[in-house]
Symmetry: C2
Subunit: 439 residues, 2 copies
């Protein structure tokens, strides 16, 4: 029997709203001392013993039964074969998704990832050179959370950025490979694939071993061990954000069919029990119709158990005084996914300051964005959209300032630099500037 | 008596080069368990007790003798007065530097920090909206490393990004204020200043207290306690990179006066004993002339002791086979500051893939870039230029993807998303897409 999915009903007009709202939003990543200690030990071991350590942990945790780390590399031919073996509709969908994701990220690179400079009247040149990273690592989870779409979303921006080497790691517990994941790796231009995972894979990518090359940045989702390992190697290599549970917030003015909205809430909730789905709407009757659709549609969902737990445990249907108030609450949440289920989405979009991705209008289901609209589906969670951005081409590039001061420029800038350097007590700084114009 | 400054002499042609080179480069941030424990305690206390905790630690560590946290806020009038009281040449230098830094960052915003979008044939719109952070915190060290130029370099990009509130914290041990720092805060458009520092200041900014508002990101340098606190609050708020010792690498073809290069090496070395200055040059005679200038110039430097320790302990003069080889070695180091002391800097610049800032040609001393050329002086250290960038306007902005799928778009994209979602076992994702075209 399907359990009921009953998101918390709240109204901003209620006296207890603020406390109940805060309690529902609350989520904090627990740091597990056992995980931390295990990960610290694995990383130190990988740093010291390289291949041998990675091989041992892979045999122990993933039961891959390998005699050498080299055995765990998948040849390009195997990726290609996985791609060729896909049923035609799946292959075509993957190709079309990849092409759209590529086009979007090419536009992103053009809009914000090109080198620039300007020259001043005296010949001084200032600017910034934008270059791709040399080599990046992409972590792809094995098991139930093995998503081929994530391979596309991590590898394609790196490829568009111009990264020459993309190293993918993916654990294969008991040797089980996910063919869709391998096909996606082929399509997305991944350079090499190793069947390793966990903290040992993160360590191998961060420090390099005889077999696994050291990378400059590691992106991609993982479990608590992977997240802990990424935090620990940060600084040694770059990392993307550590993701929390996935979230959707739907702002509804009542013009979108309520069953569409119910299914959008489901699509977030089906990820896992900690996923959060919230509806904000000024029309209390509409909220009731969405709840009715939730009740009607839930029994047919294969993942009904997870959806029910997620919606009942972390979901909320919030009645607001107005759409304006709904926008203000959305800004406080800074959601990962923000749907404007409205007939006039452009009216509300300018009021929305923080969100990973904004889905405008009734036809834009979050799931279109997850797979194939083009923008990245790796988005900031847990309110981090206040200060961070979707994964993008910019995450696989870095910038170097360019400064070429002319002889005339050294004469005009030197005295300014010298004055400030003396003020800070840094005389060599001052003298280095002065020598260029005083001799 | 001035001690000798004798950077390590190496030649890439020597058999032992690789090992000696690696040993000289080696630097690893030690994690001090005592610091970690202290910081964890302070942060937890600030989170729990807010103002009271921050006040207690400030009185204990900085001896500020305050009765409330409110007393430790500096009014805008005091910043303005500090600015007005500066000697005219200093005020003018600070103003000119600020204006140039502002102009550069405005160009940066225009080149890479504006919203963009495109519309497809069927009306679907895709793009990215770029918005400033709501509120940022800038940490400014007190004591010997109190640099007004750092205030400009942190606050101006935030202001150019459009951040409405910039909160600065700066400890004032025993109540001592640095007037240049306060003047710079006035000039750079800092919104509020609190005389607090250490882990307690980082905690106050990250969690917010009754008096100190919670920010979205914290930038700026600090000691080991501040660095540890920033690492710990990362995720709760954004942070910039944790900086290691400062470094300069000079690529010289022998055409720059050797005393200029010697002084540039000094200007890095005078920061502290761990700072690293390296010269790469294919002309062994020129290397000798630079060493001679080091010997000649050192005794007149007020910070000669620090310079000598830094150059002898961490500096290197490396004879390379060619400029090309020098460029390749520079890429392995990925230096914070990279000077091309050459008559043809544009010939070598394209070969240089990793650096925080590249200073082209003999007239471009690093110190001009540190203070007033315009580019930011907050740069990636310790080889992190492999994957990270100078502080910039982009650090004070975030991006939200924009997706508006038209009715026709939902018909063409829906089947692709559904196919992939079924492949990943996410049926609600598939149904949400299908409902938009199948009803």
């Amino acid at each position: 029997m399907t359990p009921a999915a009953r998101p918390l009903r709240l109204s901003t007009a209620d006296a207890g709203f603020e406390a109940a709202f805060q309690a529902r939003l609350h989520w904090s990543e627990e740091t597990d001392a056992g995980v931390e200690q295990t990960v610290a030990g694995i990383l130190a071991d990988v740093k010291r013993r390289g291949d041998d350590a990675v091989l041992e942990y892979s045999n122990r945790f993933d039961a891959v039964g390998a005699a050498s780390l080299g055995e765990l590399e998948l040849p390009a031919s195997e990726l290609q074969a996985a791609f060729a073996a896909l049923p035609a509709p799946q292959r075509s969908a993957l190709e079309q998704a990849a092409a759209r994701v590529r086009r979007y990220h090419e536009a992103q690179k053009k809009a914000s990832g090109e080198s620039w400079s300007y020259r001043e009247a005296d010949g001084t040149l200032l600017g910034q050179k934008v270059t791709p990273l040399d080599r990046v690592g992409i972590y792809v989870p094995g098991g139930k959370a093995a998503y081929p779409s994530s391979v596309l979303m991590n590898a394609i921006p790196a490829q568009v950025a111009g990264v020459p080497e993309i190293i993918m790691v993916v654990p294969t517990p008991r040797g089980e490979k996910n063919l869709l994941v391998l096909a996606a790796a082929h399509l997305a231009g991944v350079t090499r694939v190793f069947r390793i995972g966990g903290a040992q894979a993160v360590g191998a990518l961060a420090y390099g071993t005889a077999t696994v090359p050291r990378v400059d940045k590691i992106t991609g989702p993982g479990n608590a061990y992977v997240a802990s390992a990424k935090r620990r190697v940060f600084g040694q290599v770059g990392i993307d954000m550590i993701a929390g549970p996935s979230e959707i917030l739907v702002l509804a003015d009542g013009s979108t069919p309520p069953d569409w909205v119910a299914m959008d809430l489901f699509s977030q909730a089906e990820h896992d029990e900690l996923a959060q789905s919230i509806l904000l709407c000024p029309d209390v009757g509409y909220i009731g119709r969405v709840q009715a659709e939730i009740d009607r549609l839930l029994p047919a969902m294969p993942r009904a158990q997870i959806i029910a737990k997620s919606l009942s445990g972390r979901g909320a249907l919030i009645h607001t005084r107005s759409m304006e108030e709904a926008c203000e609450i959305s800004n406080r949440i800074a959601p990962e996914h923000l749907e404007i289920a409205s007939s006039e989405p452009s009216r509300w979009e300018p009021l929305l300051r923080h969100a990973g991705a904004i889905f405008l209008g009734s036809f834009t289901s979050e799931s279109l964005g997850d797979y194939c609209a083009g923008p990245n589906h790796v988005l900031p969670t847990s309110g981090t959209a206040r200060f961070s951005s979707p994964l993008g081409v910019y995450d696989f590039q870095k910038r170097s300032s360019l400064i070429e001061v002319s002889e005339a420029g050294a004469r005009s800038l030197g005295p300014i630099a010298a004055e400030l350097a003396y003020g800070e007590g840094l005389q060599a700084h001052a003298r280095a500037a002065e020598m260029r114009y005083k001799g």
